[in-house]
């Protein structure tokens, strides 16, 4: 049996060990409002499925509550929360955002949560902390429509706010490193033509992304998540990360095309609604097989799904993802 870390190291190098590593993650609504209960739920989920890495999924507001946002879970089957109070109303609010410290308040509590998870499952199982890109944080502070409007009206004011969020994020990454994480899951939500053109993203956001990833440099596995559809995969895949995760079953590029575009490890392969929620174990196995085939036998593949697993996914289907990798592996 090859160790989990070795499996992942092989995938990062574009190869395969005894089988592709497997990882799925999900939200834990309600539990995610308390760092202890979030840690307990993440650890319990890992013990149930024995994945090759643990990606910690807090609520998207975890780095923003001390800025004054409020949100609540209203039953979304993805486990995401709805913002009920935004803190950016006017363009003047952006440069006035507070620079938070990861040594106090909600951020410090989240660091404690990470430390606890590392203590419980770390070692041979890498633990990744979710860091939302500053642009994604800005969306949650203002709402997407207002963010878009402000970027047109007063880009310098928004950029000043993004700069503050960037410094807080860098501090968060530094503290998370000290807590023993093995990498970050860097979630980008705006590298998509649904929000802006490629050049705008490159000018506005890419230097910020690089600044944060630089803070995570040297960690074992930094995993880039390109959220949504019509993504700038080529741009995202040039960032300094070891692996890329995207909604490969919902948007271009396909897994086969992505393998042609980059040598980085690719994370995905199984559709998160169909078949993970709506299908059965056989359908899950079929998609996993296809992903393994698309990557030349699972080379450089971390088998998973393009985003969070919905809360309604049958447990048998989650077990099937792991079983698929074992069945298709090459011991």
């Amino acid at each position: 049996m090859t160790a989990r870390r070795e499996r992942l190291a092989a995938a990062i190098a574009g190869e395969i060990a005894d089988r592709p590593p497997v990882a799925l993650w999900r939200h834990f609504p309600v539990d995610d409002q308390d760092p202890r209960s979030l840690a307990d739920s993440v650890v319990a989920f890992q013990r149930l499925f024995d994945f090759d890495l643990v990606k910690v999924t807090p609520a998207s507001s975890y780095a923003l509550v001390d800025l004054g946002v409020a949100d609540e879970w209203q039953g979304s089957t993805e486990g995401t929360r709805v913002y009920t109070r935004r803190v950016v109303q006017n363009v003047e609010d952006w440069p006035a955002l507070a620079r938070l410290s990861a040594r106090s308040g909600a951020l410090a509590r989240h660091i404690e949560c990470l430390r606890s998870i590392v203590r419980e499952v770390g070692g041979d199982t890498p633990v990744l902390a979710t860091i939302f890109s500053p642009l994604a944080q800005a969306k949650n502070l203002a709402g997407q429509d207002r963010l878009t409007e402000h970027l047109r009206q007063a880009p310098r004011q928004v950029e000043a706010g993004l700069s503050i969020l960037t410094e807080t994020s860098v501090d968060l990454v530094t503290a998370a490193r000290q807590a023993g994480i093995d990498g970050i899951f860097y979630a980008i939500q705006h590298a998509s033509s649904q929000f802006m053109d490629r050049e705008t993203y490159r000018r506005l956001a890419e230097p910020i992304d690089r600044r944060i990833l630089e803070a995570a440099d040297g960690l074992f596995l930094n995993l880039l998540h390109l959220h949504g559809t019509e993504i700038f995969f080529d741009l995202g895949a040039t960032l300094p990360v070891q692996a890329v995760n995207w909604h490969d079953r919902e948007t271009a590029p396909s897994m086969a095309e992505a393998r042609r575009l980059t040598r980085r490890a690719l994370c995905g392969g199984v559709g998160r609604i169909d078949p993970l929620v709506l299908g059965n174990a056989e359908a899950v196995l079929g998609e996993a097989r296809e992903a393994i085939r698309a990557t030349g036998g699972g080379r450089g593949l971390i088998l998973g799904t393009g985003c969070v697993v919905p809360l309604t996914a049958p447990l048998g289907n989650l077990r099937a993802v792991r079983a698929a990798a074992e069945a298709e592996g090459s011991p």
């Binding site: 070795e6 190291a9 574009g14 079953r249 919902e250 396909s254 559709g271 169909d274 030349g296």
Partner: protein, 130 residues
């Protein structure tokens, strides 16, 4: 809501890759793409042939030998597979990317161990303990 499927092919087009190799028979990268696609499609014999040609054209590169080892291993051709993995492990010394060299070497040795003893037995290589 169901996922909206991507319009791109989910798996490599083997006919297209074969045509690519026919057009440029000495292109090692095209041969490697074909070899890995055949291996991924569970066609180990054509994979073996593609990797063998690639290894002959680029004898200093460990990747064709590593692919060849995997294709032979899948066909249960034990001794030739061990020879291919051993050559791949030796050739990693020439790689400038030391991280990749280290992983490839460990994997090649792991496959040899598995073929010889039924165990990866990478304790010393991976964790530095005997």
């Amino acid at each position: 809501m169901r996922d909206q499927p991507s319009q791109e092919p989910a798996v490599p087009d083997l006919a297209e890759l074969e045509a690519d190799v026919e057009r440029r028979p000495d292109d090692v990268d095209a041969l490697l793409r074909l070899g890995w696609a055949q291996y991924g499609a569970d066609h180990p014999l054509p994979a073996e042939q593609a990797f063998e040609r690639a290894a002959a054209l680029r004898p200093d590169d460990p990747e064709p030998s590593f692919g060849l080892g995997l294709a032979l291993k899948r066909q249960v051709k034990k001794e030739p597979a061990i020879r291919a993995f051993r050559r791949a492990a030796d050739l990693t010394q020439g790689l400038s990317d030391r991280a990749r060299a280290s992983i490839l070497r460990r994997l090649a040795l792991g496959h040899i161990n598995y073929l010889e003893r039924g165990e990866w037995d990478l304790e010393r290589e991976v964790w530095g303990r005997a």
